[in-house]
C-alpha cells in the first residue's frame, strides 16, 4: 500500500513518456499526442517541475501540428485539426508563455478563431470538426480556447451558454447533449464552460445545491469517485468531480482524505505514474487528473490548479477574463 505521493517517481515517469518511440503504443496513440503533452506538462506544473520537458522542442512540435488548410491544431503533424487538439495546443503554448506565436500572428489568430467559430451550430452547440459530432466537451474546448486567445464575444457565448444549460438534467448532473444521461465528466465541461464566460449566476441556488448533491453522491466507500451511479470509482473523476465542486464552491461536500488515499493507492510505486484504480496500469491521463485532484483538495503543497481551466493559477491569471 502506498500512502505518500511519489513526486520524484512521477517526474521520472513523465520524462520517460517521450522516449517511447520504439513502442507500438506510441505510434498508435498519435491521435492523442498533443492532448498527451498537455496532460504531461500540466502534471509537471503541479509538481513544480515544468523544466523536465524541453521547452523549445515542445513548442516546435506544437507548431508543427498547426493545420494550414483549416486553421487549428491537429493532434500530430499532418493530422486534421479538431476542437480537442486545438485547445491542447493553445494550453501548451500558454503554459510556455508562447501564446504570442498565435495572438501576434494575425493570419493564424484569424484562422484559429474562424476554425472554432465555424464549428458552432445554429443551436449554440459545437461540433468537434466538420463531420458533425456534437458533444458538450466541444463547447468547453471552444470557450476555453477563445478565452485563452482573448477572443470571446457575445455572439458566440450567448447561444453556447443557452445550449449548455439545456444539458442540465433533473438529477443535477449534466449530459453530453440535451436529453443524454448525466456523466461526471460533463459536469466539469458544462460548469467549467459557464465559469469561463462568467455565467454561473444563471444557475439558481437550488440548482447549485442539486448539482452538488449529485456530485457528492459520486464518492464510494473506498474513497474514490465514480462517473455515474452504480459504477466503479476511477481516478480521473478525482478531477471531473472535484473541479466541478470547486467551481460551485462545494469542495467540502466529499471526504478529501479518503479521496487522497484512493489516488495514492493507485500510484505505481516502482515506475511512477497513476492508474485508474489500485493495481492497474498507469497512464499520463490518470496521472495528471489524479495530481490535479490532489492539488484541488490542497494535498501536500502541490502547485495550485485552477478548476475552471485545469492549468495552474499562475498561468490562468494571465488570461484576460470575460466579459472584457
Amino acid at each position: 500500500m502506498v500512502n505518500a505521493l511519489l513526486k520524484e517517481k512521477h517526474i521520472k515517469y513523465l520524462k520517460s513518456l517521450d522516449s517511447q518511440k520504439e513502442t507500438l503504443e506510441y505510434w498508435l496513440s498519435e491521435h492523442l499526442r498533443l492532448n498527451g503533452i498537455y496532460w504531461g506538462l500540466t502534471a509537471l506544473c503541479i509538481l513544480d517541475s515544468k523544466e523536465t520537458f524541453q521547452r523549445e522542442e515542445v513548442i516546435q512540435f506544437v507548431m508543427s501540428c498547426w493545420n494550414n488548410r483549416t486553421g487549428g491544431f491537429g493532434p500530430f503533424p499532418k493530422h486534421d485539426a479538431h476542437m480537442l487538439s486545438t485547445l491542447s495546443g493553445l494550453q501548451i503554448l500558454l503554459t510556455y508563455d508562447a501564446i504570442n506565436l498565435i495572438t501576434e500572428d494575425s493570419e493564424k489568430l484569424d484562422s484559429v478563431v474562424q476554425f472554432i467559430k465555424g464549428n458552432q451550430l445554429p443551436d449554440g452547440s459545437f461540433q468537434g470538426d466538420r463531420f458533425g459530432e456534437v458533444d458538450a466537451r466541444f463547447s468547453y474546448n471552444a470557450l476555453s480556447a477563445l478565452s485563452i486567445l482573448g477572443m470571446l464575444s457575445p455572439e458566440v457565448v450567448d447561444p453556447a451558454v443557452e445550449h449548455i444549460l439545456k444539458c442540465l438534467n433533473f438529477d443535477g448532473g449534466f449530459g453530453l447533449c440535451p436529453g443524454a444521461e448525466s456523466h461526471a465528466s460533463m459536469a466539469f465541461t458544462c460548469l467549467g464552460a459557464l465559469s469561463i464566460v462568467n455565467k454561473l449566476n444563471l444557475l439558481t441556488p437550488e440548482q447549485i445545491d442539486t448539482i452538488a448533491w449529485w456530485l457528492c453522491e459520486r464518492q464510494v466507500p473506498e474513497g474514490g469517485l465514480n462517473g455515474r451511479p452504480s459504477k466503479l470509482p476511477d481516478v480521473c473523476y478525482s478531477f471531473w468531480v472535484v473541479s466541478s465542486l470547486a467551481i460551485i464552491d462545494r469542495l467540502d461536500w466529499i471526504d478529501s482524505d479518503k479521496l487522497a488515499n484512493f489516488i495514492l493507492e493507485s500510484q505505481d510505486e516502482i515506475k511512477g505514474g497513476i492508474a485508474d484504480r489500485p493495481g492497474n496500469e498507469v497512464d499520463v491521463f490518470h496521472t495528471v487528473f489524479g495530481l490535479a485532484g490532489l492539488s484541488l483538495i490542497g494535498y501536500d503543497n502541490l502547485v495550485e490548479i485552477d478548476p475552471t481551466y485545469c492549468m495552474t493559477y499562475e498561468l490562468t491569471s494571465k488570461i484576460h477574463k470575460y466579459p472584457y
Binding site: E22, S29, D80, F131, F170, P221, P229, D252
Partner: protein, 329 residues
C-alpha cells in the same frame, strides 16, 4: 487513456522481446500511414485509397484523420457507390465496434454513413434499433449504447413522423424490471414521461401517475439500497409536472404515503441489520423540506434529528448535511 487494465511488471527480458516484436509492426504501420497521408494530400479519392484507410483503421480505429479521409473519399468517389457499398461500410464499422466498443470515432462514422445513405434510410435506421438492442442486452448501462439509441429513435421518428415514446417507455420498463439499478433506463424514463406529457400522449394522466407511484413503491420494496430508483423518486416529488397532474390533495397523499413507506423500510432494515437505510432518510428529508415550504406541519426537531443521524451514517457527505442544518437556523 486506459481503463481496467491490470498492471504488469516488465522485466528487461520481456521488454526487449516486446520491442523486437513492435519494431516490425511499427514499420508496417508507419509506412501505411505515410502512404495514406500522401494519397490524401494528392486528393486521391480512389478505391485504392479507400482500401488503404481500411488497412490503417484495422490497426488503429482511433485514427480520426483516417476516418475523415475515408468520408471524403466516399463523398467524392461518385458513381461507384451502390447499395452494397453502403452495406459493406456498415459491416466494416460493425466489425470494428465489436473489437472496440468504446471508440467514439467508429460510432461517429456509423452515424455519418446512416445520415448519408441516399436509399432506404428508414430500413437502415430500423436495422440500427436491432443493433442497439443487442448491444444493450450485452451491457445494459453502456453509455454509447443509450446515446446511440436516442439518435436512432429520433431518426426513425423523423422519417416516419410517428412518435415512438410508448414503445420506448415499454422498453425502459422492461430494462428496469430486469435490473432495478439500471440508472440509464430510469434516466430515459424521465425523458420519455416528460416528452409524452408535453405532447399530450397520455390519455388518462391521473391514472398514469398513480400507476407510476405504484411502480416505484414496488421498486423501493424490492431494492432500497441502490440510488437509481431514489434519484427517480426525487424527480417525482420535486418536478412541478407530477404535482400538477396529481392535484394538491393527490400530491400530499403521495408524499405522505411515500414518507410512511420510507420509514417502514428503514425500520425493517434497522431490525434486520441494525443499520438505518440512509437513502430512506434522505428521501424523508426531501419530503419534509418540500412540505415545510407549503405548510408547516413537520416539526423542525424531527428534521434536525434526521440530519444529525445522517452525519453519522453517511460521513463522506457529512458537510452536505451540516449545510442543510445551517440553512435550517
Amino acid at each position: 487513456m486506459q481503463h481496467g487494465i491490470k498492471r504488469k511488471q516488465w522485466t528487461k527480458e520481456l521488454l526487449r522481446h516486446k520491442r523486437e516484436e513492435d519494431k516490425k509492426k511499427i514499420e508496417t504501420y508507419r509506412a501505411l500511414v505515410e502512404q495514406m497521408l500522401q494519397f490524401r494530400d494528392n486528393n486521391n479519392y480512389s478505391v485504392e485509397a479507400m482500401r488503404l484507410t481500411t488497412k490503417v483503421l484495422d490497426i488503429n480505429p482511433e485514427f480520426n484523420t483516417a476516418w475523415n479521409y475515408r468520408r471524403d473519399i466516399i463523398t467524392n468517389i461518385g458513381n461507384l457507390i451502390d447499395e452494397k457499398f453502403w452495406q459493406d461500410e456498415l459491416k466494416f464499422t460493425m466489425i470494428q465496434l465489436k473489437r472496440f466498443p468504446k471508440v467514439y470515432w467508429i460510432w461517429n462514422h456509423r452515424v455519418w454513413i446512416l445520415n448519408n445513405i441516399p436509399i432506404n434510410q428508414l430500413k437502415m435506421w430500423q436495422g440500427e434499433l436491432i443493433v442497439v438492442n443487442a448491444l444493450l442486452e450485452m451491457d445494459a448501462r453502456n453509455f454509447h449504447g443509450w446515446h446511440y439509441r436516442r439518435v436512432v429513435i429520433s431518426n426513425i421518428e423523423k422519417l416516419t413522423k410517428n412518435s415512438l415514446n410508448k414503445q420506448e417507455f415499454e422498453y425502459v420498463t422492461s430494462k428496469i424490471n430486469k435490473n432495478i439499478s439500471n440508472y440509464s433506463a430510469w434516466h430515459q424514463r424521465v425523458q420519455l414521461i416528460t416528452n409524452m406529457l408535453s405532447n399530450d400522449q397520455i390519455a388518462d394522466k391521473y391514472d398514469f401517475m398513480n400507476k407510476e407511484i405504484e411502480y416505484i413503491t414496488n421498486a423501493i420494496f424490492t431494492d432500497a439500497e441502490d440510488q437509481s430508483v431514489w434519484f427517480y423518486i426525487i424527480w417525482m416529488i420535486k418536478f412541478p409536472i407530477v404535482k400538477e397532474l396529481l392535484g394538491q390533495d393527490g400530491y400530499s397523499k403521495f408524499l405522505k404515503e411515500l414518507r410512511e413507506n420510507a420509514e417502514m423500510i428503514n425500520m425493517d432494515e434497522l431490525e434486520f441489520s441494525g443499520k438505518d437505510n440512509f437513502w430512506c432518510l434522505k428521501i424523508i428529508l426531501e419530503i419534509d423540506m418540500i412540505q415545510n415550504s407549503f405548510d408547516n406541519l413537520t416539526d423542525r426537531s424531527v428534521f434536525k434529528g434526521y440530519l444529525e443521524k445522517l452525519i453519522k451514517l453517511d460521513p463522506l457527505r457529512q458537510n452536505r448535511y451540516k449545510y442543510l442544518l445551517s440553512k435550517l437556523s
